[in-house]
Subunit: 345 residues, 2 copies
């Protein structure tokens, strides 16, 4: 049997009330008595039964997820995952709510963070936008002892508790490594398609990609980065133009979310020499393109994993419990047409 508060009382030779005062750091206990109780706790290996404690406290865990609005399909998928977590929440006394903020708007994000802070939630998960003001706002939350997890996009220099997302530099490096090897020495320039270079994730991916290309595959030149703003129509046009301008192009790295346009552009040049394509994010479209051989590999971050990990970490932090590091590391999934998971997109 696990020891209980009663066992502590007996072991320390004090009353239950005193044990309670020590355990819940209430005032009115002499230092010597406190020490005696703490030693007893240590000695008999008491661990608080969190479930029973929560029951007694009628404790709730109000968590807030701050997500960018807009029609970025990855973000909408992320939101769907948060909704799924929301539905499962009550089973574990969690009440999850979502606050939406215009994408890439640091000012709005700061306002949202401060508003959320006023509601004193048990934890906050936020898709960060990089700016000193945002860092300060996150630090204000932490100063209030509210756990903060950054989601998908980290906030370097802040006091956030945890980052639930992938290592984007490693993702870029991996993309370069795959692309370089898949090309197997076939010479020619390589095109890079991004959404916008203003986003940290995209910059990091590009940095990683560049580093490995320069180091391991110096034979290939990188064409100027195409910024398609994650817009299908614009992307299709720009990619088409770029391929026309550099007909010898042998590879494309699509590090953003503009895959629909890319795929459309690829379909238009069926007869042209093959181009090796590495893209990000497994969606209905990239999955189909993988199967058709239009795309050679897809690097994916699993939004469901990220959300569930964020929730677990927030809960653990709220309880003052330990986080299982290995469990919360989000790996980049690499999908070829040969290891596609069955359902969903």
């Amino acid at each position: 049997m696990r020891p209980t508060v009663h066992d502590i009382a007996a072991a320390a030779g004090v009353s239950l009330a005193t044990v309670d005062r020590v355990l819940n750091q209430r005032a009115g206990v002499r230092k010597v008595t406190r020490d005696r109780v703490e030693q007893a706790i240590e000695r008999i290996g008491y661990v608080r039964d969190v479930a029973a404690a929560n029951l007694a406290k009628s404790r709730k865990y109000p968590f807030v997820f701050i997500l960018p609005s807009g029609d970025n399909s990855f973000m909408r998928g992320l939101e769907a995952e948060v909704h799924a977590a929301m539905a499962r929440g009550p089973l574990e006394r969690m009440v999850i709510s979502i606050v939406k903020v215009p994408a890439f708007d640091a000012e709005a994000l700061v306002a949202a963070l401060d508003e959320v802070r006023a509601t004193a939630p048990a934890g906050v998960a936020v898709v960060a936008v990089e700016s000193p003001e945002v860092i300060a706002a996150v630090n204000r939350l932490r100063a209030d002892r509210i756990p903060v997890v950054t989601l998908v996009s980290d906030l370097a220099g802040s006091a956030r508790d945890h980052f639930a997302g992938v290592d984007n530099v490693a993702a870029g490096r991996t993309a370069a490594s795959l692309l370089g090897r898949f090309l197997g020495g076939r010479p020619g320039p390589i095109a890079v398609l991004a959404g916008s270079m203003l986003v940290r994730d995209h910059r990091e991916r590009l940095d990683g990609f560049r580093a490995v290309m320069d180091e391991d595959f110096p034979g290939h030149t990188l064409l100027p980065v195409i910024e398609g703003q994650d817009d299908p129509v614009l992307t299709e046009k720009l990619v088409g133009e770029a391929l026309a301008a550099s007909p010898g192009t042998v590879g494309i790295y699509s590090l953003g979310a503009g895959n629909r346009g890319l795929i459309a552009a690829l379909k238009q040049r069926k007869d042209a020499p093959p181009v090796c394509v590495i893209a990000h994010e497994l969606t209905r479209h990239t999955r189909a393109a993988l199967n058709e051989g239009l795309i050679d590999a897809v690097l994916n971050q699993d939004a469901g994993h990220e959300v569930r990990s964020a929730v677990r970490v927030l809960k653990a932090k709220a309880d003052g419990a330990a986080v299982i590091g290995a469990q919360e590391r989000i790996y980049i999934d690499i999908f070829l047409k040969d290891n596609l998971p069955f359902d969903e997109g």
Copy 2:
């Protein structure tokens, strides 16, 4: 506020005792009354507070993990992960124990399963060995309504609740796809190194590998499978001989656990033309070999994920709760030297 049993009683116009009888399927309730209560439950959206129920019942979850003994390093890593889960167990009222059984010994496994069954655990995870007797033994557990999860190695045709492991056919296909593309048309035979063809995982990987090689890269012949019995010394010898016999070999797929021997053999032929190598399981040795460029890619199944997933599923099944499919799917991790995780190994 979430509705409680009292709310059910009020809504159905019955007493608490009757609600309890219905909720815990005790006898002595007329069909009509039972229906009325169940409708009330439905109507007010009652969900049992599992934490409170477990507290009242002083419920424990005794789970048993049945693992193969022997010095297979993957299995020992798996055991370490089970020990880690064991240590975290008490926080969630789980008591995990380990039963070890000689590897690949169906008879011993059956005996262990029946012995475990007699202790009426709340769930069993087992690294399965394929045999009709084992299937029958697993089905006996299921007949006793004991949840069963197969771990790492599945048991087709059995009534197990869940399989916590990777799709090994897809792993083999992925290996072939990577190897074929990395070779980029460079002709030459390919060697396959396995532990033993008696293990289902290995057979499945080989099947997947063969299928894609035949289909997509028919230019390469596959040399006869080398069975190194996962023994470093034997493996080094056999690989050395095979490479000497077929000096034109361009690729190696190591689908078992004999990587130390393989790496030793590779180091002996530094001056020889490069061979593209795909191996399984990220260990200290394969990680080092990746970094040195001796191995080009490592496919990995994360034992920690598998164990944690098995535990979660067993708990959910024991509670009669739903399993989050996407969360419990174990992906094959693909590691290049560019996306190696930092610690452990």
